[in-house]
């Protein structure tokens, strides 16, 4: 195998790692930013640092990335792992990640990657290369379970937090202090994310190097790969997917400190419990479920189910959409080096176009948690009080 395609795949995998990072900043940091437990810049800096550290902590699951879903045994009707196959899968995942970011939808980066690889595998070896039962077990069922487990936990946790801090006369006291606790709970989510997600890219790169004969079959993950992946995910996290932070932090429901702490704790515990009991759940879906559950759990809060519906629609589309892009890229990549070049160019154009479109409605650290919403709040509160007085 030539040298050039491998370099291309490594570069593309790092780009995916970067999108993975900025897509998932929201999972840990949307709620502390929303409650002002942390300033936006501090929050993304903390998340980036923890993702960087997390990436060095483990390579345990790096090589099991697509294991089982795609039949990698070329001798028995499976798809041969070649740089071209990985290239197409990763390109599909990147394009879907950028698309969902443009729409501010928290969607699973792992599912995007699975989708891309599936599309690529179907083109390479036909539908027989996909294990549908494994797909159901590893992707679809967990996707149904994650929001439910996290949501139910966050609902009860929120109710508990408010019940305990509610005084006898029904008035609260000292709930602002939950902001301090939020720093710990959201940091735990960021660390867990770093140890899990950077490994996906490490696995992809190592797999490609092995398939190209540049690395031994039995080789572990080379150090430069760990370093590059850690830096890419940390940089992505620091850039912050502000559109997604806005959706999770204020789009679904208005988050208060006690509620935010309950949601983050539920997210952290759900991820840790599931990944250690052999039922790995998507961080993004768990975090979204927690925010919705905590919104249901707090008295007087409103959950915008329309936004929740859009997010779920995004989840349903993730696998087929990234598979379609992956398949198209695989068709091009099959044409050889020229095909790879055309696919890369087309991918770059699509991503570039979406970035240009995103400039029209810029969302950044300064306005992720909407100023408009805040202004509306400031206007709303006195009006509410007046109404209360007049009824008395």
């Amino acid at each position: 195998m030539e040298f050039l395609p491998v370099v291309l795949v490594v570069a593309l995998a790092l780009v995916f790692d970067f999108t993975n990072g900025f897509h998932d900043t929201a999972n840990a940091m949307a709620t502390p930013i929303a409650t002002r437990a942390l300033t936006p810049r501090t929050a993304v800096g903390l998340a980036a640092a923890l993702n960087l550290v997390g990436a060095f902590l483990s390579t345990e699951v790096a090589l099991t990335i697509s294991h089982g879903i795609v039949n990698e045994d070329a001798a028995h009707g499976g798809v041969a792992i070649t740089p071209a196959f990985v290239f197409a899968g990763v390109l599909g995942a990147i394009i879907w990640n950028v698309t969902t970011w443009l729409f501010g939808l928290p969607s699973s980066s792992s599912h995007a990657l699975f989708g891309g690889l599936i599309g690529s595998a179907v083109v390479g070896a036909g539908l027989g290369a996909i294990s549908w039962t494994t797909l159901l077990d590893k992707v679809i069922l967990p996707a149904l379970v994650a929001p439910f487990v996290a949501g139910a936990t966050a609902l009860l946790a929120t109710k508990l937090a408010y019940a305990v801090t509610r005084r006898g006369d029904g008035h609260p006291n000292g709930r602002g202090r939950f902001k301090i606790a939020q720093i710990f709970s959201s940091s735990l989510v960021a660390l867990a994310h770093g140890t899990n997600d950077a490994q996906k890219t490490m696995g992809i790169i190592t797999l490609t190097l092995i398939s190209a004969g540049m690395l031994d079959q039995s080789a572990g993950v080379p150090f430069w790969v760990i370093l590059a992946c850690a830096l890419a995910i940390a940089l992505g996290t620091y850039m912050g997917g502000w559109r997604i932070i806005r959706t999770l932090g204020s789009g679904l429901t208005e988050v208060k400190p006690a509620q935010g702490f309950a949601a983050e704790t539920s997210t952290a515990v759900t991820i840790l419990a599931s990944s250690h009991l052999g039922f790995a759940l998507s961080t993004t879906q768990v975090a979204s479920g927690s925010v919705i559950g905590s919104g249901v759990g707090r008295r007087g809060s409103v959950v915008r189910w329309g936004t929740a519906g859009r997010i779920v629609a995004g989840w349903l589309l993730t696998l087929p959409a990234s598979a379609a892009v992956g398949a198209a890229a695989a068709l091009l990549a099959g044409l050889g080096l020229w095909g790879l070049a055309v696919a890369t160019l087309a991918g770059a154009l699509v991503v570039g176009a979406m970035v240009v479109v995103s400039r029209r409605t810029k969302v950044g650290a300064d306005n992720a948690i909407s100023e408009v919403a805040e202004a509306a709040e400031a206007v709303d509160i006195p009006r509410k009080r007046r109404r209360v007085r007049s009824t008395r």
Binding site: T35, A152, G176, L188, A262, G300
Partner: protein, 89 residues
């Protein structure tokens, strides 16, 4: 085949862990905000982010209890970190 046992275990463990952590911190925060100041503070709804507002000095048992609660929470966080880092186990 859907592994219902694994699923149920995840749900139960998650519930117990999260409620323990949130319960400890809430209790600690409640204890720090004693004694209650008479009269209304904030709104009775759960919409307010209330500052600490007490009357007089906090009793020593309340402070000790709050520290115990936060220590318990710290232990849960440390266990979480222990779980995250494979080097430890």
């Amino acid at each position: 085949m859907i592994d219902w046992i694994a699923l149920l275990t995840v749900l139960v463990v998650t519930m117990v862990g999260a409620l323990a952590a949130v319960g400890l911190v809430s209790l600690g925060i409640r204890l720090l905000a004693t004694p209650d100041r008479p009269g209304a503070i904030g709104e009775p709804s759960d919409a307010e982010e209330d500052d600490v507002n007490t009357s007089g000095r906090r009793p020593v048992p309340a402070t000790v209890g709050a520290i115990a609660c936060f220590t318990g929470f710290a232990a849960i966080v440390l266990y979480g970190i222990w779980l995250i880092v494979p080097y430890f186990h």
